[in-house]
Structure formats: structure tokens, C-alpha cells
């Protein structure tokens, strides 16, 4: 059997969280539980006579994302019409960008190597279809709430060669998008959508395979990895049989844990692109782009460097508190409050936040610090006191002790929990005391 490798290019769609739509004033509300067709107007419904007016903020944000990803920003750009018929596309064309995208190139570095970006462009999202039964009839309903939401498309070069690399790339990209502050990039809500284009070749070959399979409907990193692994095995089996996988679009089926064929593309689609005559071409001066550059918020990397320098945090602590821009903001507010109040250090705050993320992060900085100090007091528990409680816990949980001694070491965490229920102190301290007691 030959040795094979994956060749993956990724298309990522990100909905921007602007106040209004891409080409109209409708509210851009990406929550899932709203009534259908409440945010619509002549423009996003594609009524006769309606005209698109581009959202300046969406354009600026796309450029900022490009700058954050090392893209070259086009000094002249334009919108184009991409034609196809589908009931969720009311004009019969989508306003997108064809040959002059806002951003060209760029990259994301992974531990497996650099993933180059091909381009980043801006377009409008479509409506959504709901297939259901109404009064006993099978119907397809169209909801135009999403129609006209600003949508950024990021396209990579085929530089990804494993599911692990794909996930690392996606997580980094996700973090960059979040930290530029332009999208919630919530995959469950569909505000970030992943479409890997997967092919497989014999390892060592440098040529692009003559086919690719696009996988849609992926709403988590985990499923992206699963879909890539599934496809890899499927393609390898076919290639080993001397067959070439069919060029097609497949969908990830969560229940079957498999991809299923959706649509076989017969040749290239003809979208009859032409420049959108309703929107004049866009021109950006160097000053304009530089000004946008200065507006990009601190990246996760920059933050980590600052935390290490200013707050003396460890790298691991940085990873823990820089999960999302919101969480790192909470962290910084609490650090300020902590140093103001007492000798609580940034490192203390980081540890507490990381350990008790869910219960503490929602408190105000003042409440948090008060609670932190209060609970820290209990650290003044004596070793005797601790050992007394440990002994009683071991006595009451004889079976767990036996399990532990017979090699089932994970059971120790159960015992740690029992101790902590009585004594709110540092887990590490309980653990080491418990181990000592169990050995003796």
C-alpha cells in the first residue's frame, strides 16, 4: 500500500457583527430564536427598484482582518454580481467580489507549517430555507432575516496536510477573528462556517490532485477533524482501488458520523460575474489603510507578551486567561481592582479565574476580588486540620481507597472532591496531602 497525504484548502465564512446589514439599514441580529422575516426591507428582499448601499463599517472591518492576517490590501476594489437561482437569493444574484477582493494573500502559522491565504473578500449572506409541513402540505419556507448580513469569505491555499493542522489553523484563525472584534464567530449559530476542500495524493508528490471534495454543514472544529479523517480514509480506499474520487460537494452527517454526497458538480458553474453597476468602485489611500491598521485591537499574541512582561504571568496562565477578548478584558479589570485593594497579584487573579472560570467570571471586578480575598483566607487551614478531614474521607470511602491501591489511580480525584466539599482550599494541596496519606 502507498503512503498518502491530505491536501486541504479551506473556505471559511464569517458573519460580521455590524449594527446593520451589508447593503441596507436592517438590524443585523444573529440570534437564532427570533421570528422569521422581521428584519427585512426592499433592499434585502430584492424588491424591484431597490438599490444596495455598501456598509462602510463592514468594509473597514474586512480590511482590518486582512491587516491582522498579513494580507495585502487592494487600493482599488469593487463588488460583483454572482448569478444563480435559489429561493433564498431574492435578486437572482449575490453581491460578492470576483477579481478584485479587498484583501490578497496573508497567512496563519501553525506548528505544522505556514498556511497561506489566497484572498479575503466581502459579500452578502443569503436567506434561509425551512422545509416543513404546514396544514398537511410539505412546504419550503423562506426566512429573509439573514439576507444581506455582511459575510467575509477567507480562502486558503491548499497548504493543510492533516486534520490536526486543520484544527490548529482554524482555532488560530477563530481567535484572530475574535480578537479583531468583528464577529462572534460562533459556529453553532452559523456565524462562522467551515468548508474544507479535501483531496489526497501519494506522499512525496507535489502536484495538486485532479479532483477535490468540498464538505459543508460542519459546525464545530471536532466535526471538521472527523470529516477530514473520514474523507481521508474514503479517498485512500478508492485510490488504492485505482479509482479517482468523484469531484463533488458532500455534507457532514452528525448522526452517521460520516460525510454524504449532496451534489455532483458537472464542470465549473457559470456564475456570469460582472461588476455590480449599482456600487461605484472602492478606492483606499495608504493613509486610510494605515488609519485602520492603528484601530486593530491588541491580538492574543500581543496580549500574552504584555501579560508576561507586565504581570509576570507564565505562558500557561496566558493561555488560560486569553481565551476570548471578553474573558481577557475581565481578567485585566480584576487585576486593576486587585492591585488597588490589597496584595492580590495578577498571577493570583489568573489562577482563580482559570480554576473557577464559570462561577467567577460573571462577578463584577469588586465582587470578584472580595470573594477571592475571602476565600484565600481559608488557605490558612492548618495541616492537622486538613489531615483530620482526609482521614475521615478515606474512612467513609473505603471502596475508593481499595480501587486506588489496586491501580485505578484516577479515583483520587473523586476523593479530592470529597475533601474539597468540606474544605475550600487549593486542589493541589489536597492532592499532595491525600497522596501522602494513601501511601502511608
Amino acid at each position: 500500500m502507498n503512503e498518502y497525504e491530505l491536501v486541504i484548502g479551506m473556505e471559511i465564512h464569517v458573519e460580521l457583527k455590524t449594527e446593520s446589514g451589508m447593503f441596507c439599514g436592517c438590524k443585523n441580529d444573529q440570534s437564532l430564536d427570533k421570528k422569521p422575516n422581521i428584519y427585512t426591507c426592499p433592499v434585502c428582499l430584492g424588491l424591484p427598484g431597490a438599490l444596495p448601499v455598501p456598509n462602510k463599517k463592514a468594509i473597514d472591518w474586512t480590511i482590518m482582518l486582512g491587516l491582522a492576517l498579513g494580507s495585502e490590501i487592494s487600493e482599488v476594489s469593487k463588488f460583483d454580481r454572482k448569478h444563480y437561482f435559489y429561493p433564498d437569493l431574492p435578486k437572482g444574484y449575490q453581491i460578492s467580489q470576483y477579481d478584485m477582493p479587498l484583501c490578497v494573500g496573508g497567512f496563519v502559522d501553525t506548528s505544522f507549517g505556514r498556511v497561506r491565504l489566497h484572498r479575503i473578500h466581502l459579500e452578502e449572506d443569503t436567506g434561509t430555507l425551512k422545509h416543513t409541513t404546514l396544514d398537511g402540505k410539505r412546504v419550503s419556507l423562506v426566512d429573509f432575516n439573514r439576507s444581506g448580513t455582511p459575510l467575509v469569505e477567507i480562502v486558503t491555499e491548499p497548504d493543510i496536510h492533516s486534520s490536526a493542522q486543520a484544527i490548529e489553523f482554524l482555532k488560530k484563525l477563530h481567535q484572530i477573528v475574535r480578537f479583531v472584534g468583528i464577529s462572534d464567530a460562533d459556529m453553532e449559530k452559523g456565524s462562522m462556517r467551515l468548508e474544507p476542500n479535501i483531496s489526497v495524493r501519494v506522499k512525496g508528490s507535489t502536484e495538486l490532485p485532479q479532483y477535490k471534495v468540498e464538505v459543508k454543514n460542519i459546525n464545530s472544529f471536532k466535526f471538521a477533524a472527523a470529516a477530514i479523517e473520514y474523507e481521508f480514509k474514503r479517498h485512500v480506499a478508492l485510490l488504492e482501488d485505482g479509482k479517482i474520487p468523484v469531484q463533488e460537494t458532500r455534507g457532514w452527517n452528525e448522526d452517521k458520523n460520516a460525510t454524504v454526497s449532496q451534489r455532483v458538480k458537472e464542470g465549473a458553474s457559470d456564475y456570469r460575474y460582472f461588476p455590480e453597476p449599482d456600487i461605484p468602485p472602492l478606492r483606499f489611500s495608504k493613509e486610510y489603510i494605515n488609519n485602520l491598521k492603528s484601530k486593530i485591537p491588541e491580538s492574543a499574541q500581543e496580549k500574552a507578551q504584555r501579560y508576561i512582561n507586565e504581570y509576570k504571568l507564565s505562558k500557561a496562565q496566558c493561555v488560560g486567561v486569553i481565551t476570548t477578548p471578553e474573558f481577557s478584558n475581565i481578567f485585566e479589570l480584576m487585576v486593576v481592582e486587585g492591585t488597588k485593594t490589597s496584595g492580590v497579584t495578577a498571577s493570583d487573579v489568573a489562577n482563580w479565574l482559570i480554576n473557577k472560570k464559570s462561577s467567577m467570571a460573571n462577578l463584577s471586578p469588586e465582587e470578584f476580588i472580595t470573594k477571592l480575598i475571602e476565600e484565600s483566607k481559608t488557605v490558612a487551614v492548618s495541616d492537622d486540620e486538613l489531615n483530620k478531614i482526609i482521614k475521615s474521607v478515606l474512612f467513609e470511602n473505603e471502596k475508593a481507597v481499595t480501587d486506588y491501591k489496586s491501580g485505578k489511580e484516577t479515583v483520587i480525584m473523586f476523593l479530592v472532591g470529597k475533601v474539597r466539599a468540606q474544605l475550600k482550599i487549593d486542589t493541589a494541596r489536597i492532592l499532595s496531602a491525600l497522596k501522602k496519606e494513601l501511601i502511608s
Binding site: 438599490l51 454580481r81 431574492p90 435578486k91 456570469r272
Partner: protein, 475 residues
């Protein structure tokens, strides 16, 4: 009792309304009397507003009029049925939209409404603007008020016939390749194709977005200037509308044209042009000279390429713009597109297809740049270009419908104006021996509408072609 109030100019009517010597109710009543008398034969309108409703508006205008009310306050008007009117059926003369009631107003309608003008009808056209005779309408064909066996021109034959018959003091037309100027010339009235971006296109059913323009048609240049001043200006709903300041166009009427330089392109007056039209425009040239203007012969050799370039750009854009009428959301299915519209959709779809795009659409866009260069060069030396509007005067019905190529060539003098985006004023300059109106056009610089108003008004001050009124219902 018909007082012929509608023969007066807009400014005269406004003056009389303000001094209360007449009322809007009288004006609107006269409009309906004229429509009732002529419409059974002429078919200028597709939809006429309920008379009681219009009279209600007129009564309200009379009650709210102040001395500083806008000159259009209480003045009735009509629009080509390409403009969306909230609550009033809008068809673009196609059965596909036969029962389409828009939920919003076009910007031009909103602006006129704000001035107090009273919309009384939606006028006939070639469906979607596709044609030059109004014969491609899905409704009864508009007749030429000067000879009802002949076409009123197109695509806006309805608004032109309505103004010629003095249903109303003015109408709003839509010009993509001559659709305001062409029927105005065949019907003997004045019309202004504005600079691209001068008037908002929001709410105008798109034919070819990069060529479409919204403008007035009326009895005189002065009336067109009054309306233009009301409708011009940037619109946040149209990204192609221009922030260029809006002039006091009406003041242009009194500006002398002494020393104004007019170009006379020799290629425009060669074979293909009806000698009667040529003679009439040469006479007008002499009148401009006697008014103090300087008219010089120039060469503009690109004329013949205008129609081929237009018939790539316009169908391409229309094939895209009409994609939404797929039979899902609007009543009628695609089978209801006329032959002419199908021809244009097919041509445009072909021109935009991959593999053909570079050879057709892209090449046409390049040609567009060449036209812009050519016009810019001439208009940097001259204030205006004097051109015919049509090669021949009004044809008999069927003549153009049966001959699509001749139909296309009819707009040879008009299409390059839209391709370049400059403004042009079309106005009557004579009659043929058969008694049919002849028009000419004065093409100006980008945003040079005020100069065109001066030229047109000076000419109309010494001529009376624009005062001739057709017999309409009696012919």
C-alpha cells in the same frame, strides 16, 4: 368647462394658484377631463389614479398652500410606470407585475410628493424599457397624438403622449438609451436626460443600471428646469447618486447664451438621417448663431459604434436585473416576457457567460472608456453638442416591431449619451410636411444641466414649435 389651464407653464400656474385665481381642484379636474376625452384612443396610461382620491389631494393642496409653497405644490403630474409608487400598481408595462402593489415609493416620487405635486397616473412604455415604440407593452399600445396611426416612440411613449396632450404640466420619464428623448421628439415636447447620478434611481425598476437615468419631460425647457431642481441631489439610498451640488437650474433660463460654444458633429448629419430632420436642425443652428452662440463643425467619428456597444452593455445588465422575476415572488411567470425582452435577456446572458465575457462585456466596457475620452475632448472645447434625436420621424405601427435591427438603429444618436453619462436636452425644432414633430438634442458636460437650460430656454424664447398642440382624440 375646459379653461385650458394646462396649456400654461408650471411657474404661471403656481403664481395663479398662490393668488387664488385658480385652484388645484380645477387643475386636476381638467387633467381628468382631458384623460377621459383622449385615453380611449391614445392609451397613454396604464393605471389612472382614482379621481376622487386625486381631487382629495388637490383640495388638501388648496387648503395648505402658502405664499412660499413650492412651485409644484398642487400641480398634477404622471410618471412612466417604471417607478414604484406605494399602494399604487406598478407594472413596468409587463403582465409579470400586472397586480404588483409596491410597499414603498421611489425617491423621485417622495421628493415630488414633498413638494406637494399630485401624482395622477402611471404611464405606458415598452415593457421593462425594452423598445423604442411602446409597442412592446403588454397593455394597449400608446398612439401618437399627432397621428394615431403612428407610434408615440419609446420606451416612454406614455408620458410623452400625456404631456403632448396636456393631461398634466409634466411627467417623469426614465432614459437608458433615449427613452425620454426619443418619444418626446416624436410627440413634440421637451425632455431632459440628466447626468448619470444627478437624480436618484432608488425605486426605479432597473433596466440597465449603469445607463438608467431619471428625468423630467414637459412642454418647455423652463418646466423641465423647475422639476429638475425639485428632484436632483444625492440620495442615501442610491450609492451612485452624486454629491455634486444642485444648481439653481431655473435661473439658467435668464442666462444669455452669447459666446456659448456649440459643436456640430458632421458625422451625425450624413446619410441615414431624414433630410427633413437635417434641414430643421440646420435652421436651429442658424438660430443659435443669431442668439450669439458660436457653432462650429467638429468630427465625432465613433457614432456608429454606439449601438453595438449599447446592445452589449444594456442586455447584459438587464439579464441580471430581470433575474428576480422568476415567477416565485411576483404573480406572472417568465412566459410573460415579450419577444423583445427575451431577445435582450438571451443576448445579455450570452455576453456574460464565461468564455465570452472578455470578448463582449469587457470589450464593451473598454469601448465605453473610449467614448468618454472622445466626449470629454469635445466638451472641453465646447459647451454643448447639437445632435438629432432620431433618424426619422414617427413611424406607422408595426414598422419597427417587425424590424428589430432598424429599431435598434433608431437610437444611434441617443445611446452614446447614456454610455458616457452626460446630460442632454431634447426639444422640438420643426415639423415634417406630414405634420409630424421633429426634435433635436443639446448634449452638455457632466452636471452641465444649467447651461442646457440656458440654451434650450433661449431657443424656445424665439421659436414656437413647443407651443404646438396635437389634436389627439380628433385625428
Amino acid at each position: 368647462m375646459n379653461k385650458n389651464l394646462l396649456d400654461l407653464s408650471i411657474l404661471e400656474l403656481s403664481e395663479r394658484l398662490k393668488t387664488k385665481s385658480i385652484s388645484s381642484v380645477e387643475l386636476v379636474t381638467e387633467s381628468y377631463q382631458r384623460m377621459e376625452a383622449s385615453e380611449p384612443i391614445i392609451h397613454a396610461a396604464i393605471t389612472i389614479r382614482d379621481k376622487k382620491e386625486a381631487l382629495g389631494k388637490a383640495k388638501n393642496a388648496d387648503e395648505t398652500r402658502k405664499t412660499d409653497s413650492h412651485p409644484l405644490h398642487g400641480i398634477p403630474y404622471v410618471v412612466k410606470d417604471a417607478y414604484l409608487t406605494k399602494g399604487m400598481r406598478t407594472t413596468a408595462a409587463s403582465k409579470i407585475l400586472d397586480n404588483y402593489i409596491p410597499p414603498y415609493n421611489a425617491t423621485v416620487i417622495d421628493r415630488l410628493e414633498k413638494c406637494g405635486a399630485i401624482l395622477i397616473g402611471k404611464m405606458n412604455m415598452d415593457a421593462w424599457g425594452h423598445g423604442a415604440s411602446t409597442e412592446n407593452t403588454d397593455y394597449p399600445v400608446t398612439k401618437n397624438p399627432w397621428d394615431t396611426t403612428r407610434s408615440a416612440g419609446g420606451s416612454g411613449g406614455g408620458p410623452a403622449a400625456a404631456v403632448a396632450l396636456r393631461y398634466v404640466p409634466f411627467a417623469i420619464g426614465e432614459d437608458t438609451g433615449g427613452s425620454i428623448r426619443f418619444p418626446a421628439s416624436w410627440c413634440g415636447i421637451t425632455a431632459l436626460k440628466v447626468t448619470y447620478g444627478r437624480v436618484s434611481r432608488y425605486g426605479a425598476i432597473a433596466y440597465a443600471s449603469s445607463l438608467d437615468s431619471v428625468g423630467p419631460t414637459a412642454k418647455t425647457t423652463e418646466d423641465c428646469a423647475v422639476v429638475l431642481e425639485a428632484i436632483a441631489g444625492i440620495d442615501p439610498y442610491d450609492a451612485t447618486s452624486s454629491p455634486h451640488p444642485v444648481d439653481k437650474y431655473v435661473q439658467g433660463i435668464k442666462v444669455s447664451i452669447k459666446g456659448k460654444r456649440i459643436a456640430f458633429p458632421l458625422e451625425y448629419y450624413k446619410e441615414g438621417l431624414d433630410p427633413e430632420i437635417k434641414t430643421a436642425i440646420i435652421k436651429a443652428r442658424e438660430q443659435f448663431v443669431s442668439l450669439g452662440a458660436i457653432v462650429e463643425d467638429v468630427f465625432m467619428p465613433l457614432l456608429e459604434f454606439g449601438v453595438p456597444v449599447y446592445y452589449i452593455l444594456a442586455p447584459s445588465e438587464t439579464s441580471s436585473n430581470l433575474g428576480r422575476y422568476d415567477g416565485v415572488r411576483y404573480g406572472g411567470t417568465r412566459e410573460l416576457f415579450t419577444k423583445e425582452t427575451r431577445r435582450r435577456i438571451l443576448t445579455g446572458t450570452y455576453a456574460l457567460s464565461s468564455g465570452y465575457y472578455d470578448a463582449y462585456y469587457k470589450k464593451a466596457q473598454k469601448a465605453r472608456s473610449v467614448f468618454i475620452q472622445n466626449y470629454t475632448e469635445i466638451l472641453s472645447k465646447y459647451d454643448a453638442i447639437l445632435s438629432p434625436v432620431t433618424t426619422i420621424s414617427a413611424t406607422k405601427f408595426g414598422e419597427l416591431l417587425d424590424d428589430p435591427v432598424t429599431n435598434m438603429m433608431m437610437d444611434v444618436y441617443n445611446v452614446t449619451v447614456n454610455i458616457v453619462g452626460v446630460p442632454s436636452l431634447a426639444l422640438p425644432c420643426g415639423f415634417t410636411q406630414k405634420g409630424l414633430p421633429i426634435g433635436m438634442q443639446i448634449i452638455g458636460n457632466m452636471y452641465g444641466e444649467k447651461t442646457l437650460v440656458s440654451l434650450g430656454a433661449s431657443y424656445q424664447a424665439v421659436t414656437d414649435w413647443h407651443k404646438k398642440i396635437p389634436r389627439g382624440e380628433n385625428s
